[in-house]
């Protein structure tokens, strides 16, 4: 498809902008001004609408396709939560208004949303206090690491590293590093969870903390979680819970109850806020009571007269991790989602997420020639190695799936499973969709055996076939000219 710049033609104009003048033009010396206007497109409004409408239709998305992308919790994003977040009463508020003297009273609605969302997340995780400021999961991790650092500094602990299992999401080690720590990586055991003995060996007085995902990216819940927590706490380390997979346990288990000290949640996963083709998300962080003083400012508080107010006066706080209060628009979606689910809905959701994953795992097991290794949680990983004999790879299966109108599962992750294919159906899919997925997978396996070249050529139904990524990296055509 043509780029919007390629549709541009001099003198065409889009939305009519105002041209009212109320003051005489003031001459700004030339050296402060750009010599040429920015070469933005010159297209009619109709053309812009057609262009981006057409672009949108090149995407797979939850609204159009089953999207069982493991580790990403691509559940349905309720339209009412969108409507809630788009209320002008919420979107048209300047974030500085509550910081003007007297302005807090004019933004009570927004502050209430923040306050109540924090309370709900605290209850859902069993942690004392939440900050909603982190703007994604990785940002939450970094915030958590900074809180760890502030805690250790405050207590005079000398810590230099964080322990992370090898199955962890890449953001975990990256966040630890950016937060100022060394990373000690622990391999997984044969069940796919962090090897307990190797972990014990690595743990020492210099351990600032441990970052864990449970269930982890394999969809496996670490049964020795309590033991790990105890061991870490013995060296005054802190347990960090990567809650990106919270959809598996919501309403049933709580990180706080398990012994975790810090936890981030991905609102754009478990809490049904849409992923936006890459974001925005939100990664609120919860902490146990003893870590409360280190949370970023501002804090939203309920005053004695029942109004909400911002508090910046927290001397031990790590400071500003966001300009304001986080991705408010995302938070409203999550808040409205939680209100919709309620107590029973939380548990009902995770129950069905896990049920759907187990159902698929069970149905697909014969195909992948996998032994029964126990139940999974909200997702599971199979290996496509069994197809190697036909010269077919997981990638081929993925591309074949695209031709059949299903977004492929996550592939080649986690790295420790060869030809990994990681499926997370989520609870918002019905049984017909799951059964259809199984049928498609069967069809693809048949094709792998009987006509592998068809799979190698896939996808054929998309506007482009497999793209040359090496060329992209080599040519570095990163903008239109």
């Amino acid at each position: 498809m043509k780029l919007i710049y390629e549709k541009s033609s001099p003198g065409r104009s889009g939305v009519q902008m105002s041209s009212i003048k109320i003051s005489p033009t003031e001459e700004i010396p030339e050296k402060y001004l750009r010599s040429q206007p920015a070469e933005l497109p010159e297209v009619s409004e109709a053309e812009v609408v057609r262009h981006f409408t057409a672009l949108s239709r090149l995407n797979f998305s939850v609204d159009t396709h089953f999207y069982p992308l493991g580790s990403c919790t691509m559940k349905y994003n309720p339209k009412a939560c969108e409507a809630a977040a788009n209320l002008p009463g919420l979107t048209e508020v300047h974030p500085l208004w509550p910081q003007l003297r007297g302005g807090g009273l004019l933004t009570q609605g927004s502050l209430e949303v923040l306050y109540k969302t924090e309370r709900l997340l605290s209850e859902a995780t069993g942690l004392a206090e939440f900050t909603l400021q982190p703007m994604a999961g990785a940002h939450g991790e970094l915030t958590g690491v900074m809180i760890m650092a502030a805690y250790h500094k405050d207590k005079g602990n000398e810590k230099d590293h964080i322990i992370i299992p090898d199955s962890a999401h890449g953001t975990n080690p990256a966040s630890a590093m950016i937060g100022g720590y060394e990373v000690v990586t622990i391999p997984s055991d044969e069940n796919g969870v962090m090897d307990f003995d190797l972990f014990r060996d690595a743990l020492n007085e210099k351990t600032a903390g441990v970052m864990l995902t449970s269930p982890n990216t394999l969809g496996v819940f670490n049964p020795r979680i309590k033991d790990i927590c105890n061991a870490v706490h013995e060296v005054d380390g802190l347990m960090y819970y990567d809650g990106a997979n919270f959809n598996a346990i919501m309403g049933r288990y709580r990180p706080g109850d398990m012994g975790f000290d810090i936890c981030h949640l991905n609102l754009h996963k478990s809490f049904a806020t849409p992923h936006g083709g890459g974001g925005p998300g939100a990664g609120p962080v919860g902490v146990v009571e003893k870590l409360r003083p280190y949370l970023p400012v501002s804090r939203v508080e309920k005053t004695k007269d029942g109004t909400y107010a911002l508090n910046y006066d927290e001397p031990k706080s790590i400071g500003y991790i966001s300009p304001f209060y986080g991705n408010f628009g995302v938070i409203v979606r999550a808040y409205s989602y939680i209100l919709s689910l309620g107590r029973d809905g939380m548990l009902g959701t995770s129950n069905r997420a896990v049920l759907n994953a187990n159902y698929l795992q069970e149905k697909l097991r014969p195909l992948f020639e996998e032994e029964y290794k126990g139940r999974c949680m909200h997702e599971f990983v199979y290996s496509g190695s069994c197809l190697k004999q036909y010269g077919v790879h997981t990638l081929d299966i993925a591309k074949g799936m695209i031709d059949r109108g299903i977004h492929p599962p996550t592939v080649y992750f986690p790295l420790n499973i060869p030809e990994a294919i990681m499926v997370e159906p989520t609870e918002t899919e019905d049984r017909d969709t799951l059964d259809h997925f199984v049928a498609v997978m069967e069809e693809l396996f048949d094709l792998a055996k009987n006509d592998p070249d068809k799979l190698h050529a896939a996808p054929v139904s998309t506007p482009v076939g497999r793209l040359d990524e090496v060329k992209a990296a080599r040519d570095m055509r990163l903008s239109y000219s």
């Binding site: 498809m1 500003y320 986080g326 209100l339 139940r375």
Partner: protein, 449 residues
Amino acid sequence: MKKTPFCATSEQDQAAMFQELGISDFDELFSAIPEELRSDELNIPEGLSEMEMMQHIRKVASKNSTDLINFCGAGFYDHYIPAAVSALSSRGEFYTAYTPYQPEASQGTLQAAFEYQTAICRLTGMEVANSSLFDGGTALIEGIMMALRHTRRNKVLVDEGVNPIYREMLRCYTQNLSVDYQEVPLSGSGVADRKTYADALDDSIGAVVLQNPNFFGCLDNLSELIEKIHEVKALAVMSVYPMALSLVETPGAMGADIVTGEGQSLGLPLNFGGPYLGFMATKKEYVRKMPGRIVGETEDAQGRRGYVLTLQAREQHIRREKATSNICSNVQLCALRAIIYLSLVGREGFLDVGRQCMDRAGYAWQKLTEIEGIEPAFNRRFFNEFAVRLPKDASEVVSELIDQGIAAGFPVGRYYKGMENVLLFAFTEKRTKEEIDIMVAKLESALKA
């Protein structure tokens, strides 16, 4: 039994699935997990129907005042957003997609990102841009870290004209790192103080952080200063306000190495602070040091043009603790809004908006500086924002006006000691002459009282 909202499985489906799995209740699915970990029932209210939920949120929203006449900017502006921006970005195919890991099934997101990167390059006068970072503040931090990585130095000079909110963030993010962070006070005329820089610049400096127009709205041409920065082989990191780039000299032309900024003004609502849009652009030579996703053009086997995420070896999912950044999810949908916005207003319309902002600010400057007791804080060289010194505490004045429905500006005293009487006013194309007149009149009487 109460249904679980949004779940697709009926009781009949569920029974069949239980049978398939040989279980009789949900708990059996979790039998491998120690029973002691099971939490009590959550102390959360019962679920609401959609109608009740919406009624609740509408009630909450109505507790905000949205009819304030706003002159508060400070880096975050209420520009007009053409209706087509939301109409298009709210298409499900865009906003319910994931990161475009499967390019053949994501050309919509990818091409739009490529178009956005192009627009950022053209606005800033830079060679390459990434496909978004969280916001202007984290983008600036990433820019600084990138500069330090590149120069292998650890000292940063940060101009006090940089938004103080961002400087708070910089202090937060660098506190546990071996970064030597130093702020440089403004000159008397409210811009980067050439003398201080001349003294401070040496080969220990990795990055110098500037903003134009700066927090006080003052315009500067930083070319010569940047030359000096380059002389010590440091990188110039510049934070910019993209709407100003309609008219104001580009950071590219001034020689900046890394440019970041807050893209909120390009079609995003103020939304009480987010989601916003961090952008970053740089020179081609630094692209492998740049954090965040980058979309590149390539071809398929038939030679058809297409777009992919590229240079991924910089990123956390491949490099883990050695990545250029920990960022994973970004704000792609906000970048989409920005490119839609820029396409809608187009080359001419973008100039129109810039001129309107400047026009409103010019009018208000005239009116405000006529008031006895009000002095301009700096000179009259601004895009859409300027500061004045009041004869009394600015917070108090603002508080009086807010009760009359006017957010009269941002009192800078909170972040700048000794400037308690200084008030920063911002103007967008949305402000009318009438609104400005009302504000000026009320301000005048507040000063008399």
